[in-house]
């Protein structure tokens, strides 16, 4: 009896030690992402990434936590501020938000490990801050015009190739009872893509100059773009209730053929190409330039990271595992699963005609301007989107709104250098 007890005790101790040894060899990576890795087509890449990496690396335990939007941004910010409870890897669009974390010393510099990974320059640039690479961007989004080709064909209309042509096309659509543009401005940010394009087409590098404090935000290009935007709103090109509609409503207007165009990011390719989401024939086109009097060209593209990952300082002790994960995120194997986004990895073919069109637009880009609300310092980005929403309110003096925004920029970024 006594012997059997001693044997059982020894067996238990051996079991405990062997289990501990197994866990000690296992590296755990906590990853905070936006999307749930479920069966939805939108989440195909995240699902393939997590499952594929886990299958290939059984010695690395991936703890992926989906936090949604704005949950991911809020939780990351709080955790970065407190400095504790950080994940090893988090999903990010890069830009100034990631830069703020890098400046605070919360991120892991992976320049040497990641500089050799093949990918588009724009995607790498978005994950670079002050010359250091902090992560990878397997997918990149560009803004363009989603056009309901069926509506255009039925009404003998051609997709505008100059900004001047928009008025004629929009007036025809309106006369036929079709809303020219879907927007969803209740969510504030959807108006930005068009405003960025209009500013670029009027003033070329105006936004870069304003961010570098060479010109103010109430200078000519910004004001003219705002005035043209406002005139289109007044003409009803965005429908009669753009402020009551959210981004989801705008998608529905396009999906049901009630709106003819949607100026937004290429992340919508998967949905607009999905026959379960819409029965309309939708195409993707570059935003045109002015026929005369403009500065920016059709090859000046607006966009930024669509899906990106960066590593935090707590990953320093697990650098090998983290780099392995980031490299797998940039692998063709993981990226092939994505049905709609533009992949920055060479050799990954677009899954739909729509994505191929968007990728072609991206391919023509001579300059890429990052989203202002991701690239400018966070202290001015939310007021920027608030200001854009006021363009849709009756009686708004856009010049005055831009001057107020400029005053905020002076306070937070600095005065214009003379």
């Amino acid at each position: 009896m006594k012997k059997s007890r001693i044997f059982a005790l020894c067996f238990l101790v051996v079991c405990l030690f062997s289990t501990a040894a197994v866990f000690a060899d296992e590296v755990k990576l906590t990853i905070w992402g936006r999307d749930i890795p479920d069966d939805s087509a939108d989440h195909a890449y995240v699902r393939a990434l997590i499952n594929g990496f886990q299958a290939k690396n059984p010695d690395i335990k991936v703890d992926y936590i989906a936090l949604g939007d704005p949950g991911l941004a809020d939780k990351t910010k709080i955790t970065m501020a407190s400095g504790s409870g950080l994940p090893e890897i988090f999903q990010t669009w890069g830009g100034s938000v990631m830069g703020g974390y890098a400046d605070a010393g919360m991120l892991l510099d992976l320049t040497n490990e990641l500089k050799g990974i093949p990918g588009s320059d724009a995607a790498r640039q978005a994950m670079t801050w002050k010359g250091k690479i902090y992560g990878v961007a397997p997918f990149f989004a560009v803004a363009g015009i989603f056009v309901n080709e069926g509506i255009f064909k039925a009404n003998n209309l051609k997709v505008p190739t100059t900004i001047e042509e928009f008025d004629k096309v929009c007036d025809t659509l309106k006369a036929k009872g079709i809303q020219p543009f879907a927007c969803g401005e209740k969510d504030k940010w959807p108006a930005l893509a068009l405003y960025m394009y209009l500013t670029n087409r009027y003033g070329g590098e105006a936004s870069a100059k304003a961010a570098a404090r060479q010109i103010p935000y109430d200078s000519d290009a910004f004001v003219k773009a705002a005035q043209l935007y406002q005139s289109w709103i007044k003409k009803g090109y965005f429908g009669s209730t753009p402020l009551g509609e959210g981004y989801g409503d705008a998608q529905q207007l396009m999906a049901t053929g009630k709106a003819a165009m949607h100026i937004t990011g290429s992340w919508m390719c998967a949905q607009y190409a999905n026959s379960e989401f819409t029965d309309q024939t939708i195409g993707f086109y570059a935003f045109p330039a002015f026929k005369s009097g403009g500065v920016g060209s059709v090859t000046d593209i607006m966009g930024q990271t669509d899906i990106g990952f960066a590593a935090t300082k707590v990953a320093a002790s697990k650098k090998d595992a983290v780099v392995k994960f980031l490299k797998y995120a940039m692998s063709a194997e993981a990226c092939e699963a994505e049905p709609g986004r533009i992949c920055s990895v060479p050799g990954v073919k677009a899954k739909s005609k729509l994505t191929a069109q968007a990728a072609a637009v991206f391919g023509t880009a001579k300059t890429v301007t990052f989203w202002w609300d991701q690239d400018l310092p966070p202290s001015v980005t939310s007021p920027l989107n608030d200001m854009l929403q006021t363009f849709f309110l009756q009686g708004t003096d856009v010049k005055k709104s831009l001057s107020s925004f400029e005053a905020l920029c002076v306070e937070n970024i600095g005065p214009v250098k003379k």
């Binding site: 910010k77 709080i78 703020g100 400046d103 605070a104 209740k186 209730t241 402020l243 409503d249 207007l253």
Partner: protein
């Protein structure tokens, strides 16, 4: 009043005769220590930190720079903050003017005409109160949204173009009231149940006596029920006011504070400054303003109530 005082004196007399027992004091101290520690860590320390942060300029990630009252001065020049302040005050005002009388009316009706239907009705009125804010906001959007909203669809079905074309959430003049209507539906259930429980505590003899004297229902409600509900209504008024000062979830989920600043509240402004604009100092200053206002209103309403009691 004197009787109560006398009783209190009688109770304290034997205690005075007791010998001092240091062991008992230690025991009492140890008993309350967890509560003191809990309050200190989770209540007083955060309050102190908020006050301290409100005098700093910081993104939460960078070093803190002492700026004195600069954050407060900027706040009172900030259009969004001022709009938020105006909205929470009008929200509190209209809550007291609309939600409380409506809740009283429902609560009184349900108790006065108590029958088999009353219990299920109580549950129906209380149901919105147990729904998560996200669901309430979604239902609100379903009612007020343009294109597919319940009211707009009704307008289309009836051929009333004027109704179908109303943009409840996108029109700055209507957005506040649309959100307020949803809040009234969502929050009144609690007030109804609370008032019902207090009305039911009023002795039945009072109602019988009133009815024998020929008092109408209105007269009974005004002369007997309302005076009895003086204190509960005061409590609800405080809850309305303090709740309005902290208001965040419904307007943020339904309209994001827009269009423009039409439905912005102090809570939304705080969230934006802290979490989106990375301006922790200013966000903390808004937190202090909300704290001070809540404190002032609570004290004010309680002291006003006490004065009323004394005059009665």
């Amino acid at each position: 009043m004197n009787v109560f005082k006398r009783k209190a004196v009688l109770r304290t007399e034997p205690a005075k005769r007791k010998k001092k027992d240091p062991g008992r004091k230690v025991f009492v101290f140890l008993c309350v220590l967890p509560a003191i520690l809990f309050l200190a860590v989770f209540l007083y320390y955060p309050i102190e930190e908020t006050f301290r942060l409100s005098t700093m300029k910081t993104t939460g990630l960078s070093n803190e720079v002492f700026v004195g009252t600069d954050n407060y001065e900027k706040l009172f020049r900030d259009e969004e903050f001022l709009a938020g302040l105006r909205h929470v005050f009008s929200w509190a005002f209209w809550s007291i003017i609309i939600q409380l009388p409506l809740s009283f009316f429902i609560a009184f009706s349900l108790t006065y005409y108590s029958n088999k239907l009353t219990k299920p009705l109580q549950a129906i009125f209380y149901l919105p109160n147990v729904l998560p804010s996200a669901i309430t906001a979604m239902l609100g959007k379903f009612v007020f949204a343009p294109n597919y909203g319940l009211i707009v669809s009704l307008g289309k079905a009836l051929g009333w173009k004027w109704l179908a074309s109303i943009d409840f959430l996108g029109n700055p003049d209507l957005a506040f009231w649309s959100v307020f209507a949803v809040a009234t539906w969502a929050y009144s259930g609690f007030y109804v149940i609370y008032l019902m429980s207090r009305i039911e505590q009023i002795p039945k003899d009072l109602r019988e006596a009133a009815e024998l004297d020929g008092a109408s229902m209105w007269c009974y409600a005004r002369k007997i029920v309302l005076p009895e509900l003086n204190y509960p209504l005061r409590i609800l008024a405080i809850l309305c006011t303090v709740g309005s000062l902290k208001l965040f979830d419904l307007p943020n989920m339904m309209t994001m504070g827009g269009p423009g600043n039409a439905t912005v509240t102090l809570g939304i402004t705080l969230y934006r400054h802290g979490f989106i604009n990375w301006n922790y100092g200013k966000a903390a200053a808004i937190g202090v303003v909300i704290f001070v206002l809540s404190l002032v209103f609570t004290i004010l309403q309680f002291s006003l109530g006490r004065k009323e009691d004394e005059t009665i």
